[in-house]
């Protein structure tokens, strides 16, 4: 009996200590409510120091501190880090005042729908940011209550843009006696001509985004804005055996069969594909404007250019990532002031002159000729309302599905119809919540 009593006491003590431990850990996580001091802006972003945006944000921090007298407490994060853990951190007092976040339904839209990031519509009106952003750039900044982009409420501000086009090695074209194509038929003729000369023309990567982006670009050749709205904004169900997807999937397989793309591309990563363009191994690379600055620095052994995908009215692309203000931010007003500084022409010009795509730059400030060429291509796409976003956006985790299914297609493990059907199943499952 004495033993039982002792055991009971011990267990009681154990339970009490555990409860104390949990309570203490709870205190740490929840913390006491701390209002903002109005003097410190806690900022997270994931642009590398030497990128166009990284340079621009560094300058913006300097200007902000000079003008407001407040201090910026900057924490460098990685894209993956913010992507994977933001939803947990934003629900606590550890949330920053301002954060860069990926745009799209499954990302910023998700945070918006859960109330973790602030409705900043009032600040947009106050500062007049909407006037500086083209309509197709606004789509990814505004969300519905369900987190679907293109809604009525502002949840973020983008201040740069991006799009997918085609990079051409002009020297390789000249050596082969070929012209830079302006139509899709000419594009295919060029591909055939390179293959005939024993050159695999397209740098591709089946283990990461480039192949999926090419697939979607091929679908956009047959699609219109209605298709994009159905696919991205869930206006109507997407027909996964319809003409757009069927054409994209079958044509991509043809690209491999005809030797436009190397047959062993399924395990290649984006970096390797980019490097094969930089090396001059592959004369054509279908990919995003985010490579542009790097090519300016590294692809110096030959002359090159970039255009929108030939013959396409619609291009992959969108605003860049967004500045979002967490609902738990302590210093929201400072966050708005910082966003406004990043929209100033002088900060935007830094983006433009370093290979980025500013959304509110003064054309006269862009002194670099290569950057001017890129910006004018982007503005051409904006003028015809041509931004069509990215294929993996509609459903969380759809990126991995696209990579895996297209790997199955190009390795011959499955046919085009099965690939489209599998993609459709995953898309329907992943978007069920939004419909």
């Amino acid at each position: 009996m004495a033993r039982t009593t002792r055991r009971t006491k011990t267990l009681t003590a154990l339970a009490a200590l555990t409860a104390t431990g949990i309570a203490l850990s709870g205190c740490t996580a929840g913390g006491a409510e701390e209002g903002g001091d109005g003097q410190t802006l806690k900022l997270w972003h994931y642009e590398s120091e030497d990128s166009a945006m990284g340079k621009a944000w560094a300058e913006a921090i300097k200007v902000f501190e000079e003008e407001t007298g407040a201090t910026v407490e900057f924490e460098e994060k990685s894209f993956e880090q913010i992507q994977k853990t933001a939803s947990q951190v934003l629900d606590t007092d550890a949330a920053p005042d301002l954060m860069e976040f990926n745009k799209g339904n499954a990302t910023a839209g998700f945070l918006a729908s859960t109330g973790l990031i602030s409705d900043i519509s009032d600040a947009v009106d106050e500062y007049g940011w909407a006037d500086k952003l083209a309509p197709s750039l606004q789509t990814t900044a505004k969300y519905s209550d369900d987190g679907v982009m293109g809604g009525d409420t502002w949840y973020g501000i983008p201040n740069y843009g991006e799009f997918v086009g085609v990079y051409y090695n002009k020297d390789a074209f000249a050596a082969a006696g070929l012209e830079i194509p302006t139509t899709y038929d000419e594009f295919v003729d060029v591909l055939d001509a390179f293959v005939a000369k024993g050159i695999t023309p397209l740098a591709e990567a089946g283990a990461e985004y480039p192949l999926g982006q090419l697939w979607y670009q091929l679908a956009l050749l047959k699609g219109d804005r209605g298709f994009v709205d159905d696919y991205q904004l869930y206006k109507n169900p997407v027909d996964w055996q319809g003409p757009e997807i069927t054409y994209a999937t079958e044509t991509l397989k043809e690209y491999v069969d005809k030797g436009y793309i190397a047959s062993d591309v399924s395990s290649i990563k984006a970096e390797d594909a980019g490097v094969s363009f930089i090396n001059g191994t592959a004369p054509i690379f279908v990919s995003g404007s985010w490579w542009y600055g790097r090519f300016v620095t590294e692809a110096t052994g030959f002359d090159w250019t970039m255009t929108a995908f030939p013959g396409a009215d619609l291009s992959l692309g969108s605003s860049g990532n967004l500045w979002v203000v967490p609902e738990n931010a302590a210093n929201k007003d400072l966050a708005y002031t910082f966003i406004d500084i990043t929209m100033r022409p002088e900060i935007q010009a830094i983006i433009g002159n370093n290979g980025g795509l500013p959304v509110a730059a003064d054309a006269a400030d862009i002194t670099d000729p290569k950057s001017s060429e890129l910006i004018s291509t982007f503005n051409g796409i904006l003028d015809q309302d041509g931004l069509s976003f990215y294929p993996d956006w509609p459903a969380p985790g759809f990126y991995d599905v696209i990579v895996q299914e297209l790997q199955g297609l190009i390795t011959g493990a499955q046919d085009a119809e099965t690939t489209a059907a599998n993609l459709g199943d995953a898309y329907d499952e992943g978007t069920a919540d939004f419909r």
Binding site: R3, R6, T10, A13, L14, L17, T18, G21, I22, S25, K84, S87, Q88, L90, D91, A106, F110, T114, L116, G206, A207, A262, S263, D264, V265, S266, S267, I268, D272, P396, G397, Y399, D400, V403, Q404, E405, Q407, G408, T411, A413, Q414, G430
Partner: protein, 320 residues
């Protein structure tokens, strides 16, 4: 006493001298165990129970989980990817348990018995350290290097070597079954040092007189290895097999770094699949269900191993 009653056979002498009891009883010992219990509760048990609860919910990781009953469990049984991932675990067990244990056993015996004798202890120690090296290399670093080696096309080191012999380049990680084979070879390379080190330590326990006696009786190396070495280091073989099986079932890092489950899901394993559901699809409830199944499988495997080991030991003791 319990063991004696269960065995129903001989009453065994205690294996270890008993720890002297203080007159105050065992109460004071609880104090020392307390921090461990608290940690166990906070770090293991509470998350385990929470994870089990999540299997009955639909949760995106924020706000409250929504209770959906057995929905996730039903989905699991018809989910092809889930079954593929567990099928691939068999390949991982082959690469991380079967091959390393068998090869490790032979290598350890050779290092101890042959190399050690003929070339001296230093050579044996050097080779042992060499085998162990992959174990201390971060898998992220090793994975990147392996990626370079098996790169497709003519750039990859392996393909270049094959090219010298006129063998055409292979897309090692981009197709089946080569992707699984590469992953398995990497895992054998990573794992082999662990059994070698454990078995070599175990071999120190073998009385050299036993070998000498066997040699005098005319036993060859293999006979000595199978009759003496294997029998004496059996506990270590059990430990290695158990820990490696658990590691094989939980394997994540190499798959994440080298293949990301590709091509077309061919190298998907349960831990990576759970990660995908948790972090990329935000199907936390479903990810928790996969993780729970994995935990259950690991626990069952551990129990079976320990029971088999105990049973063999009991039989051996009874036979003494």
């Amino acid at each position: 006493m319990t063991r004696d009653t269960r065995a129903g056979r001989t009453v065994l002498p205690p294996e270890q001298p008993s720890i002297p009891q203080r007159s105050g009883g065992t109460g004071a010992y609880w104090l020392y165990l307390l921090p461990g219990f608290v940690l166990l509760l906070v770090v293991v048990l509470i998350p385990l129970v929470w994870n089990a609860y999540l299997t009955f919910t639909r949760w995106k990781g924020v706000r409250a989980p929504e209770f959906i009953g057995l929905g996730n469990w039903q989905k699991l049984f018809s989910d092809e990817d889930f079954w593929t991932s567990f099928t691939n675990s068999v390949w991982m067990i082959l690469a991380m348990v079967v091959v390393p244990t068998v090869v490790g056993l032979i290598v350890a015996a050779l290092l101890f018995d042959v190399i050690g004798r003929k070339f001296g202890g230093r050579v044996g120690s050097f080779l042992r350290a060499t085998y162990y090296l992959p174990q201390i290399l971060p898998i992220a670093v090793a994975g990147i290097v392996i990626g370079w080696i098996v790169r497709p096309g003519d750039d990859g080191a392996l393909n270049q070597i094959l090219g010298w012999f006129g063998i055409p380049a292979v897309d090692w990680l981009g197709q089946m079954p080569s992707a699984v084979i590469v992953l398995m070879v990497v895992m054998v390379w990573v794992q082999i040092g662990y059994p070698v080190v454990v078995f070599m330590a175990a071999l120190q326990r073998v009385d050299p007189e036993l070998y000498e006696a066997a040699e005098l009786d005319g036993a060859n190396w293999f006979q000595r290895f199978s009759a003496i070495t294997m029998s004496i280091i059996r506990p270590e073989i059990f430990v290695v097999t158990l820990t490696c099986t658990i590691a094989a079932l939980k394997v994540f890092g190499p798959v994440y770094i080298i293949t990301r489950g590709g091509p077309a899901g061919a190298t998907l394993v349960p831990a990576y699949y759970a990660y995908q559901e948790f972090f990329t699809k935000r199907n936390i409830g479903y990810g928790a269900t996969i993780a729970t199944v994995l935990t259950i499988v690991v626990v069952i495997v551990s129990i079976v191993f320990i029971r088999v080991q105990n049973s063999i030991e009991r039989k051996e003791r009874a036979g003494l």
